[in-house]
Amino acid sequence: MSNAIEIRGVRKTFGPKVAVESLDLDVPEGSLYGFIGPNGAGKSTTIRMIMSIIFPDQGDLRVLGKASAVESKDRIGYLPEERGVYKKMKVGAFLNYMARLKGIDSATADKRVKEWLVRTGLQETYRKKCEELSKGMQQKVQFITSVIHEPDLLILDEVFTGLDPVNRRLMRELIQEQNDRGATIIFSTHAMREAEELCDNIFMIHKGEKVIDSSLEDVWRKYDPKTMVVEPMNASDIGRGWGGLPGVKEVVEIDGVLDLRLRDGADVAELMKQAAMLAPVRRLELKRASLEDIFIDIVGGSGGESAEKLRQTLQAGKGAATELEEVTRG
């Protein structure tokens, strides 16, 4: 299977700041790839370089077998992080315009626009002005602009931001549908949970450097569970000697639920057995490491930064300036 995207030793700086450093990445055709990392990690920069909106200082980049995305723009669907609609334009006209810009002839364009509006529950909005739509509806309209031309490669930057749970699910379905159709999909998010639910591969980036690039299965396999959750039936059992169980490093109690932090190489099966014998429990569960935990583990381990600070960085909402701005403005 050939690769939809190949990145070799790419480096990009903005003034003194290195946005992306010696990056290598292969995205196989037909895969669903998640780009994860905190705000300012270099996700959008990488995506913009893939889209040939900005260009790397060093290294090679091939998109759909071409040296530049410009040569295959009509085969790529892109939903940028900074996105909007023409406020005064009618929804139908806007989508038709975008479809025409993506190389679809006008007759086909209108047919597809109407199909997509029905598919996303927006059929009533064809003649409405874009500004009359709610934010979530606008988001769906923007998504339609990126898939209307049935692209072979679909790049979605922070696609779930601002959607309610119902529309989140719809969006997941739509993305899955595109993937089933055969499209290669890359989506970036700083919310790692979204990535866990959707991707088969993840690509994790921190301060411009790749920290993980593998299938999600491999990630789970590689990063052993580190925490066992115990919820005793009786509150009085909380104080029992949980910390003395084999392999337990540390016990943390939160509202009657105990997190038993495990040592590396702890015998999980034996621990389960012993814990069940210690006291009657309502719940006993081996907690799989979340991507967030893994990220903090890797980054914290290598860079020596505090886990708490990293968690904050991850959870920091949108609105932080992107790396491109900070440097070129000053």
Partner: protein, 478 residues
């Protein structure tokens, strides 16, 4: 390239098919038409006939009969006919001195005759005035009470002709009572009028009273009145400008108006189109639709499409207004004021001027987040906007001065200067036209290059608005 035209078409329709644009474009010609049709109709309507009498207190005892005679029906009709004849002669003279061809002037005359509005005499109110001579010893204060009663009305309520004016002629205004350096000195006379008396009637009364007094003085001195008047008539000057091609009678006003109109056309179309471009770029920036568009087209193609689209808007404005202008000139049979080559040059200079302004506007629009931030970067655009207005008069006065020639090769303003010069009265040296176009082209190429760079970086830039130094940095960086 197809995409560039899809963008251009969208940009064109997004501006042109809006109520604001259609109204803004159609309203001025609409009002002009209304003014051209309605005004003459209104002006052609005669003011109401003025009824009333003029009271005269003649303390000299010699002038009153002359005033009575001046307002006799025959004399009034005579004066009106004389007035109409003079107006016609003045119009003829104005047309002749415009320097237009025989055929054209003939056409104008025909149209003026067909148009009753041109008959200025129609503007004068008909009068039905009588003169009432009061005894010379009548107190002025008592006589003026009657004027007060007539206030605001030309016909008194009791049906009697109301007193519209009172002329008081002291003896010393007719008979000199003192001398200065051997010449007689005369006193003044009083003219008291009703406050709302028709202004034409009022000045007629003044003229007739003054004339009656002067005639009386001449008669007293034993002179022949008609002969004296003939001797005193001011002679007419026949003015001609001396040029190499022969004496020219070109009208000064036309000389100034045609280049002015040309530059105004260029100015209004360039800057309206530029303004539309700025607004649409800022809108794409601030609504964040920019990168969505860039997912489909390259920044350069987007900029190109936008510039072409709004340029078409400018061209539409230019052709509508200049079309209306040419139509008006043809209607008034003055089309030979404008040479067709100049219209083609106007088109060329429009393209040059517009692309320069458009590059500036596109760069500014791409660099800022909203219209307020754009204000601070608008200074250079404002300069290009204001300078042609300042150059207008000096260049028109002397289209081939060193100053005008130098300005013709200064980038950014040279299209405006050249348009002024080519439509002016003196022919521009032939080599200067292609050279100025070349300068314009070089400027356009440079501006496109620089603004493409600024545009490419600016469109994705949000946050603190850049200043000029940053823009220059972007040009060097990319």
């Amino acid at each position: 390239m197809v995409k560039v035209f899809i963008i251009a078409w969208k940009e064109f329709t997004a501006t042109v098919f809006t109520k604001a644009f259609i109204l803004g474009l159609l309203l001025p010609p609409f009002f002009m038409t209304v003014a051209m049709v309605a005004l003459p109709l209104l002006m052609n309507k005669k003011p109401p006939t003025v009824f009333g009498h003029i009271a005269v207190i003649d303390q000299s005892g010699k002038v009153a009969p002359r005033i009575v005679e001046a307002f006799s029906p025959e004399k009034v009709r005579e004066r009106r006919e004389q007035r109409e004849k003079e107006t016609k002669e003045q119009i003829d003279k104005a047309i002749k001195s415009s320097g237009l061809s025989e055929k054209t002037t003939g056409d104008i005359k025909k149209q003026m005759e067909a148009n009753p509005a041109a008959n200025m005499a129609n503007m004068i109110a008909d009068t039905n005035l009588t003169v009432q001579v009061l005894p010379p010893e009548t107190p002025v204060d008592e006589a003026r009470q009657a004027i007060l009663k007539a206030t605001g009305r030309e016909k008194a309520e009791d049906g009697n002709a109301s007193r519209l004016a009172l002329i008081v002629i002291p003896k010393n205004s007719v008979v000199s009572e003192e001398e200065e350096k051997g010449q007689p000195v005369f006193g003044s006379y009083q003219l008291l009028t009703a406050p709302r008396l028709d202004i034409e009637v009022q000045s007629d009364i003044r003229r007739q009273a003054s004339r009656a007094i002067v005639d009386t003085r001449l008669a007293d001195a034993g002179q022949n009145i008609d002969r004296m008047r003939a001797l005193m008539a001011p002679p007419v000057a026949e003015e001609k400008a001396v040029t190499a091609t022969g004496d020219s009678k070109i009208n000064e006003a036309a000389k100034l108006l045609v280049p002015g109109a040309f530059m105004f056309l260029l100015w209004i179309s360039t800057f309206s189109a530029g303004q539309y471009l700025l607004m649409s770029t800022i809108e794409e920036k601030s609504s964040r639709v920019m990168e969505v568009i860039l997912s489909a087209v390259s920044p350069l193609h987007l900029m190109l499409g936008k510039i072409i689209g709004k340029g078409a808007v400018g061209l539409l404005i230019l052709s509508l207004f200049s079309g209306a202008g040419v139509a008006a000139l043809i209607f008034f049979a003055m089309a030979d004021l404008v040479a067709w080559q100049n219209l083609i040059l106007l088109l060329i200079y429009f393209v040059l001027a517009y692309v320069m302004v458009a590059c500036l506007m596109a760069s500014i629009g791409a660099a800022v987040n909203d219209i307020n931030e754009a204000q601070s970067l608008m200074t250079p655009v404002m300069l290009i906007l204001v300078v042609p207005m300042m150059l207008w008069m000096p260049i028109l006065r002397n289209p081939n001065s060193m100053f005008a020639q130098v300005c013709s090769f200064v980038p950014l303003i040279n299209p405006f200067v050249m348009v002024l010069r080519i439509s002016g009265s003196e022919p521009v040296p032939m080599w200067q036209i292609p050279v100025s176009i070349l300068v314009g082209l070089l400027t356009v190429v440079f501006m496109c290059w620089a603004s493409a760079k600024i545009f490419r970086i600016g469109v994705l830039m949000y946050g603190k608005p850049p200043n000029f130094a940053t823009l220059i940095k972007w040009v060097r960086m990319a």
